[in-house]
């Protein structure tokens, strides 16, 4: 790649352009409006072929899951024909008739992808945002332009937030559409055995997208902290991957259960609660709070290293 930063953001502002922030700190320099920086950043993110490639993959995976399950399922399985039911490992898998429904498929896909692929997508975006631009000198342009370093970080973090939202919304929408095509509005049933209306399902999926966005932004914030200290975007992705794997291993060790509340991936199972009725929000709220703590820590560390860095 050539050293092209968000060029649009570096143009000095023309006086007649509205929207400039009036709190002028330096008389010689006018501040670039935030909105414009953001637009440039987002445009920049979605112009990268790798971003588009991974988003396409995320959109296709729920479709593959749904179709594969639909093909391997020979009609609805009734427990009566499947030998002895209860017991460990007995009985048909959970919701075997509902896996392809427009409700369980998007949520299930989201939960599965939150384990690895979605965090890596966000880590990639974070790695490109600071380390990548640093490596080919594009950040220098930012710092020369009248952009304070705190605002630079804010713009980068907002870019990561957009990626997190687009990625999780894409998974859920793709799962929802696949479910609607495969099963129509059948099987919109909660785990508690209540039928759900389409409206019920939609607000639950909305909550799922919002929650996943927050969770992924928290991972992205930690990734930005790594990103701010290095010039190699690859290191950021490897760091996030390593963190996820280590957390996963620690979560398997029950002797360390005092540590589990400190691990971010502990929260993901809270999404299962959205299939219950009425929804218990305790687990989701706890997960959201944990994600906010990680977000704060990640952004603080990133801010520390970006302000102490020599442009």
């Amino acid at each position: 790649m050539t050293a092209r930063g968000p060029v649009a953001a570096q143009q000095p502002m023309t006086p007649q352009e509205p929207g400039g922030v009036s709190s002028v700190t330096l008389p010689a320099r006018r501040r670039v409006p935030m909105a414009r920086l953001l637009r440039a950043e987002v445009r920049w993110i979605f112009r990268r072929p790798r971003t588009l490639a991974v988003l396409a993959l995320l959109a296709v995976l729920p479709v593959i899951t749904g179709v594969a399950v639909d093909l391997t399922m020979d009609g609805p399985v009734t427990p009566g024909h499947s030998g002895p039911g209860p017991g460990p490992g007995g009985g048909p898998p959970i919701f075997v008739t509902m896996v392809t429904s427009a409700f369980v498929l998007p949520l299930g896909s989201l939960m599965t992808l939150l384990m690895l692929l979605l965090p890596l997508t966000v880590a990639m975006a974070s790695g490109d945002a600071l380390a990548g631009e640093q490596s080919h000198g594009a950040l220098r342009g930012w710092l020369l332009a009248p952009v304070a370093r705190g605002r630079l970080l804010a713009v980068k973090a907002a870019g990561v937030l957009v990626v997190a939202f687009v990625a999780s919304a894409l998974v859920v929408v793709s799962g929802l559409l696949t479910g609607l095509v495969l099963a129509g509005t059948d099987g919109l049933v909660s785990m508690s055995g209540t039928e759900l209306s389409v409206g019920d399902v939609l607000w639950r999926l909305g909550v799922a997208v919002a929650w996943a966005t927050l969770y992924l932004t928290a991972i992205g914030a930690v990734a930005l902290a790594v990103s701010a200290t290095t010039e190699h975007p690859m290191l950021v992705v490897v760091g996030v991957l390593g963190g996820l794997i280590v957390s996963g291993v620690l979560m398997q060790i029950s002797a360390l259960d005092w540590l589990h509340p400190y691990l971010l991936p502990t929260s993901v199972t809270g999404l299962v609660d959205l299939i219950r009725d009425p929804v218990p929000f305790g687990g989701l709220a706890e997960g959201a709070f944990r994600a906010l703590c990680y977000l704060l820590i990640g952004l603080s560390l990133a801010y520390a290293s970006i302000t102490t860095r020599d442009g």
Binding site: P76, T78, P79, G80, G83, P84, G85, P86, G87, G89, G90, G91, P92, I94, F95, V96, T97, R149, G150, D186, G187, V189, M191, S192, G193, T194, E195, W258, P261, Y262, T269, V272, R276, P278, P280, G282, E286, F289, R290, L292, C293, Y294, L295, L296, I297, L299, S300, L301, Y303, A304, T307, T308
Partner: protein, 375 residues
Amino acid sequence: MRPRTKGLVAAGSGVAVGLAGLALSALPAGADEDPVLPEIGAEQLVASVLEARPPAFDGVAEVRNELGLPAVPGMEALDFQTVRVFHDGEENARVQVEREASELTLVKTASEAWAYDSQEHTAKHLTWDDADAAAAREHAEREHAEGELADPSRAAAEIIERLRPTSDIFVDGTATVADRAAYELVLTPKPSEKTLLREITVAVDEETRVPLRLDVFANGRTEPVLSLGFVDFELGAQDAELFEFTPPEGAEVETMEAGDAASLSGRHGDRDAAGSGERGTAGLEEPATVGDGWDTVVIGDVPADAPLDGPGESADEYGQDVSGLLAQLGRPVSGEFGTGTHLQTAVGGAVVTSDGRIAAGAVPLQVLLDALDAQ
């Protein structure tokens, strides 16, 4: 301050706040001061618990189970961590046992009971008319033992009622459970009882007299072997929709009338191979009890779909030879009743006989053997 220092200070405090937040969420619920409540006599407290009608409330309870194995035949092991309970203050109750990826929902009204298991996508429906309501209710409770036991308020009241004649009861101070002030009621077995249990404590809500927590202690252990209690308890009217249940489409529904259930119970188990495929009827066997109170031994039939005599007509598809498994877990015993296998658990034991009966209780082996001989 120079901008750089300012940035570092801001970042440092941000990290500190974030870490404090994480630590806060990791902390267990604070152990509050024990509340100060008016003195009350044990008998008076027990009477008020048994008389109290459960108010309209909803709550979340958690269970910590060190039992390892189910304590009673026909009862499932409590393999869940969280349960949600809704009572409307009248006859209606809803209990939702949350497992990791499925749920067991029980809805009970004045004239019917539903149990829906999302793991198997099956619903059991039990109806009765007023004449045999009591028997049916008892039956429904047995049928849905897991759900009934999962509701701390019901389970604890039941235990107090059953163990009252054979226990020494006293009030041991107060406690705070789910942010509510409660009395600690302690039941210990009378010296005549031959049991492995040491004591059972029940925290009783001072205002409503609903049991909020139940702890079961076994001999030689300081930690409770079973702890079931509310972590969240809110008084207030409940949505009437919670107590209506329509089984979802595609679920296998099994409907029973209380009359049928009653006629089936008391039948003694000739295990004929023909009936071995019919689950549900096997579960209706009414287990016999020997003794009372703490050293009650329950004797029931092994569910017909558990092949004890090697793989056969009803061998399960996982190819597990249950009798082989039993032999590995337990040790062989024999007596006037025949032969069997004894399994020891944290709070008791069970003997599975070779002719397909189970005797279980929170008692030493000898008591189990005596009970089988006496039957």
